[in-house]
């Protein structure tokens, strides 16, 4: 993309709009997202149901809002977990003593070659799919990119003069990292973490779509698409709304990340 000067503001506005829709929307639009009405299934748009009803007669607009809350909370939290784990792992892989750094480095590279999706399946099969489990599981399988970034940047920053000065002054290693390395990483990490949120939203929606994530009756953008796929013939529009919101979220996060990267 070739964002102009306002790319950052536009992306941030997009994310804010989606968050407002999911978190404040329910205060203005008070339909019950889990109320089943078998007399009015897959209804088209109307005053009572502005976006129609799904295969169980539930209000689509209300479900989009409630599902959006879950998808955004899981996405942001899992992104945060990945950020924390990745930063710690990356710092460890660039630390001393040498054997510790080498071990952490090898493990980090190995973890990058592990097919994350199947590890997620194992975790979900064994532990079930509560929101908490989803956050930890998605975060725990998505930190490797950030880990590599932190390792690479830390190894470069370590060679700077001011770090040598701090070492000479006898600062401890963890303190060295926190005070002299981490602050320089903030712009890069912000950009990487924002992409991480987008990835987490995509992962959550895929798991929920497969029936392995957020479980009905609680809506999520992903599991709304499960019902939609089974009713493609009768109500194709049901497949459009959640998909468009997922795409919008990921686009906004990726655009924001791009803007951060350019400013970094």
């Amino acid at each position: 993309m070739n964002p102009g000067r306002h790319a950052y503001h536009r992306a941030a506005a997009g994310i804010a709009a989606l968050a407002l829709f999911a978190f404040l929307g329910p205060l203005l639009y008070r339909a019950d997202p889990t109320l089943v009405d078998l007399a009015h299934t897959t209804a088209a748009m109307s005053w009572a149901h502005p976006l129609g009803t799904d295969e169980s007669g539930r209000d689509v607009l209300a479900r989009l809002m409630s599902g959006g809350r879950v998808s955004l909370i899981v996405g942001w939290s899992a992104g945060l977990v990945a950020l924390v784990v990745g930063t710690l792992a990356g710092a460890l892989a660039a630390s001393r003593p040498r054997w510790l750094a080498a071990t952490a480095s090898r493990l980090l590279d190995a973890a990058l070659a592990v097919p994350a999706f199947f590890v997620l399946l194992v975790i979900v099969t064994l532990f079930g799919a509560g929101t908490g489990t989803l956050i930890v599981a998605i975060g725990a399988t998505a930190w490797m990119g950030i880990g590599r970034l932190v390792r690479a940047e830390t190894l470069t920053l370590r060679e700077r003069d001011y770090v040598a000065v701090a070492v000479a002054l006898g600062e401890s290693r963890p303190r060295l990292f926190l005070r002299h390395v981490l602050p320089h990483l903030v712009p890069t990490l912000t950009a990487a973490a924002t992409v991480g949120v987008a990835q987490a939203v995509l992962t959550e929606s895929a798991l929920s779509f497969l029936g392995l994530g957020v479980e009905p009756p609680q809506a999520s953008w992903g599991n709304m698409l499960t019902g939609a796929q089974q009713n493609l013939g009768a109500a194709p529009w049901l497949a459009l709304y959640p998909g468009i919101l997922i795409v919008a979220t990921v686009l906004a996060c990726n655009a924001l990340s791009e803007a951060f990267r350019r400013r970094a």
């Binding site: 592990v114 399946l121 979900v124 099969t125 064994l126 895929a206 392995l212 698409l225 497949a239 959640p242």
Partner: protein, 315 residues
Amino acid sequence: MAGFLVRRVLQGLLVLWLVTTATFLLIHAAPGGPAVLADPKLSAVERQAIEARLGIDQPLATQYLRWHARLLEGDLGRSFLYQTPTLSTVLTRLPNTLALVAASLLLSLVIAVPLGVAVGLAPGGRLDRTVGVINFTSLAIPPFWFGIVAILLVAARWHLLPAGGMVTPGQHDLGDRLAHLALPMAVLALPLSAELIRFLRAAVTGTAAASHVRPAAARGLTRGAVLRRHVLRNTLVPLLTVLGLQIPMLVGGAAVTETVFAWPGMGRLSVEAALGRDYPLVMAIALVVAATVVTANFLLDLAYGWADPRIRSQA
């Protein structure tokens, strides 16, 4: 080359060990334990007998070693759902997944290499901007949703291609198979092509500006020769690296795509197994996938030697 390959094989073994250990630890951290022990009618003696039979009365370290010994013999347990040895169940589905993944990989290379190079040679041009927007969007589309929309339009509305499955029952010609392959292959190839184009653009832009390219042109080499010998040649090794990093994601994406298109592969099997809480089967699949990815990465490592003589000549 030998030293390089030995290091990479060790790295591959480390990946496998990481997966088996994580799996083992996850089983033991999971609440409950074997379902047979949940029966409240069991007497203490019977309980002990079952525990001894399953070997779970042993210390964790012993169980860990025994588990690995069984894995080495190819015994990955029995599936709860199908009551079959998991390994053979998984291996019958593996070729279908490999076919889908290989086809998508090929398709995305066919799309990405010419486009990526063209865009990299003229950054900022009209083609670059168009491709940039398409890339940015295709990376934001959840593959399963793209699959649903594709089924809706191409299969249900326009009746151009079948909506799912691998063959029409009773038909065995190649055309029918290719028609079934087309949609899932395209869905899986879309995000991969976007990643590859993005990467190639950066690599080609970088190499085209490198100090050895301009003198090559000055020596009177044709534009095509400069491109082939000096620009493309140098993007080959990083391209292999990116492919290696994308393979785990491609296999994960295949699981979702297979489910949407009812493709009878290992990925769809893994989703069914997870839905049925068939954890021996899910784990067997995770291990087979890890082994497949490690093998694929090893083949890429061999390709490194072919692509870069410097690696070949290393001790």
